[in-house]
């Protein structure tokens, strides 16, 4: 059995005894076999000394038990690492930032405490997965939609606290933004409720977000200031219908007006779903089984990235392929959706040569057959189908163990998409980094684009070393251009926090002051998102 760093074997044994007294002997895990289940399956340090691993795990079944565990941990200065379901693969999974921590596994706290159909909200415990909440809503016959990530086996609360996202409308697919009210066990065991929950007997904890005074919810996301034990979420009333429409534009530089119009339509809520950009001429996004890009096209793409687009435009015209397409997605009343799509077409028609493809209007609720055929996440149906991808094929001869995502946020404009591609392509050439010839941005978040480069995670130490070096290089290059990551695996959290360095790292220094004040022994999630307690900071900066 591993012992937390700086903790004597005697103290650790005493703490484990108190954990057992609090939660029951069967819910304290110390054997190597049990603790190994908390390894991060996608760790970029898999099998290396730097891999972050737990010393033990404890699984409380109630808020009172969480309080008891936290108090015991404080007494013996045991580092804890709370997880909800621990399935945020690619972002750390259930492994701690700080090796030797005791995982505070909240999976047993898996009650859906309330779902209110009339007011369209849910209140859940940490161990409630998207499958659990979806099942509850289906079994109760409620006309509500859960916005789910892909894959959907993770925790509703954990994904939101990690600031993950989904696939339906603006208001719901930013999962942290969709929350309303929290309950938190602080490092000293005290319980705090945020928003309207701060008022005893409040009738609106899940209906009004900010309560009175400073709205502190944000500091409990991507952080380590408390253990969130309840969280409310606004849910989408099941819409009447869903509609898609596709706009195609002929020239490479048409991306600029295309995105400007898209921004207008999204910011005006004319279209609400997650828009998808693609490039028919470049064959992007490329399917696993897509034929290889011809040398002619590859050369034209390189030139276009360097802003010489004539060749690619001529190629597109010759082949009869659009330069870009954008799929818009609409949720709402059927009659309104048709009108909204017509309005969108009128706007895009300003781009010379634009054409349109009308999608089929789908009335909700979906039939069982429709559910099978649908892109499930767009209808709030959790699934694990993503794990059936990545099978061995001609373009993917050695499937990997998963991915870590380099995910900078860039401005939502065509010019910035071109500039980011130019910068990353140049970095790829200069440093031999695995940068794709052209990367499409994603529209997950409002008002900004997300770039996503998936780096394979393997169990090959040498390959993982190279990947980490490339990842690190790209983070620095992105930061030099003002593009920051929105989320990352523990292995890179210090690195990325170091890029948020305005005014001599004022943000991090403020967070450290908060940490020292609310968790003076530094027992909660040491190092999470770069926030280390005082006794572990020395020598790191």
């Amino acid at each position: 059995m591993k012992t937390p760093p700086g903790v004597s074997a005697t103290d650790f044994a005493a703490a484990l005894g108190q954990f057992e007294a609090a939660v029951g002997k069967e819910w304290v895990f110390t054997s190597d076999e049990d603790v190994a289940l908390y390894r991060d399956a996608y760790s970029p340090f898999w099998g290396e000394p730097e891999e972050r691993v737990a010393a033990a795990a404890v699984a409380p079944g109630s808020v009172e038990q969480v309080q008891a565990v936290v108090r015991a941990a404080n007494r013996y200065k045991i580092p804890l690492y709370p997880i909800s379901t621990g399935r945020n693969l690619g972002y750390g999974g259930s492994a701690p930032n700080y090796s030797g921590s005791v995982v505070l596994d909240l999976k047993r706290m898996n009650r859906v405490l309330e779902v209110n159909e009339r007011s369209a909200y849910a209140l859940v415990e940490p161990g409630v997965s998207y499958f659990d909440l979806y099942r509850y809503i289906q079994e109760q016959g409620l006309r509500l939609m859960v916005d789910v990530p892909d894959p959907g086996w993770g925790g509703v609360m954990g994904n939101a606290l990690d600031r993950g996202g989904g696939y339906t409308t603006h208001q719901f697919r930013n999962h942290f933004d969709a929350h309303c009210g929290m309950e938190i066990v602080l490092a000293d065991g005290e319980i705090l409720r945020t928003g309207m929950g701060a008022m005893p007997g409040s009738k609106t904890w899940q209906q009004y977000k900010s309560g009175f005074g400073p709205w502190v919810d944000g500091i409990f996301s991507q952080s380590n200031f408390g253990v969130v034990t309840k969280m409310g979420f606004w849910l989408m009333p099941e819409p009447d219908a869903y509609l898609t429409g596709v706009v195609l534009v002929p020239r490479h530089d048409d991306l600029i007006p295309l995105i400007d119009i898209l921004n207008y339509l999204e910011s005006s809520r004319v279209c609400q779903g997650i828009s998808e950009l693609s490039s028919p001429v470049m064959g992007l996004p490329a399917a696993d089984d897509a034929p290889p890009v011809s040398p002619e096209l590859a050369a034209l793409i390189v030139k276009a990235v360097e802003r010489d687009t004539r060749g690619l435009d001529e190629f597109a015209a010759r082949k009869g392929r659009a330069a870009w397409s954008c799929t818009l997605k609409f949720y709402g009343p059927a009659k309104a959706l048709q009108a909204q799509w017509e309005f969108a077409k009128d706007k895009f028609a300003q781009i010379r040569g634009s054409t349109f493809v009308d999608g089929a209007l789908i009335k909700l609720p979906l039939s069982a057959e429709q559910k099978e055929k649908a892109h499930k996440v767009e209808f709030g149906i959790p699934n694990l189908s993503i794990f059936s991808l990545g099978a061995r094929n001609a373009n993917n001869p050695t499937p990997t163990n998963g991915h870590q995502w380099f995910s900078p946020i860039i401005p939502r404009s065509g010019e910035d998409v071109f500039e980011a591609n130019r910068v990353f392509a140049q970095a790829g050439r200069e440093y031999g980094l695995p940068v794709p010839p052209f990367s499409l941005p994603f529209c997950f978040w409002e008002r900004s684009f997300l770039f996503l480069f998936g780096f394979p995670v393997t169990h090959d130490v040498e390959k993982n070393k190279k990947t980490r070096a490339a990842f690190t290089q790209l983070v620095r290059i992105a930061a030099d251009h003002g593009w920051g990551e929105y989320r990352t695996a523990p292995a890179y959290q210090d690195l990325i926090m170091s890029t948020y360095s305005f005014n001599n790292h004022a943000l991090l220094r403020f967070l450290e002051r908060l940490k020292d004040a609310v968790d003076p022994h530094g027992i909660l999630s040491a190092g999470r998102y770069g926030i280390w307690p005082k006794h572990l900071r020395e020598g790191r900066q």
Binding site: G17, K25, A36, A56, W153, F387, G390
Partner: protein, 170 residues
Amino acid sequence: MNRREILQGGIAATTLSIVGGAGWTPSSVSGDARPQSLPVYKVIFDQRVAEAREFGREMLQLGLAVQPIDGDMTNLWYDDLYPRWRQSPVAIAGLTAHGPLFCLERLAWDFGMRVVLRTDHQRAAKGSFGRALTGQVSLLQAAAGAGLADDEPDALISWVIAPVTRPLST
């Protein structure tokens, strides 16, 4: 290794597990955790792959309940395994790609189950397969006797997930 051999390997691994019963120790929990002796509830196969389809037919002929998947195990999990495991954990076996097993293994952990036997079949040159077997030593020896080699890694995996009893920590 040809198609017939991978089929035989999958069947041998699975049926060994089924008849083996108590006394296994899963490779991933090789300490004191002890699998309980329970019947196999379902045998799962990836119907995208010819060898797995043939495996499914063979297991059906052995009188086992079989369940095809097309690589995605979501419906199997949501409609069948989750409700069944909520009642009580029961063993499952299969011949699938890595992805479905990866999911099923992790979901099974929450019900006190582990992968207790796993055979990796690697697609080698010209579409043939090699194998690598992991599990308890005694079971590996039995598997070797059944014609299972342990020389190469995976593309298809035959596996068994079964309940284990876990010794308390102290």
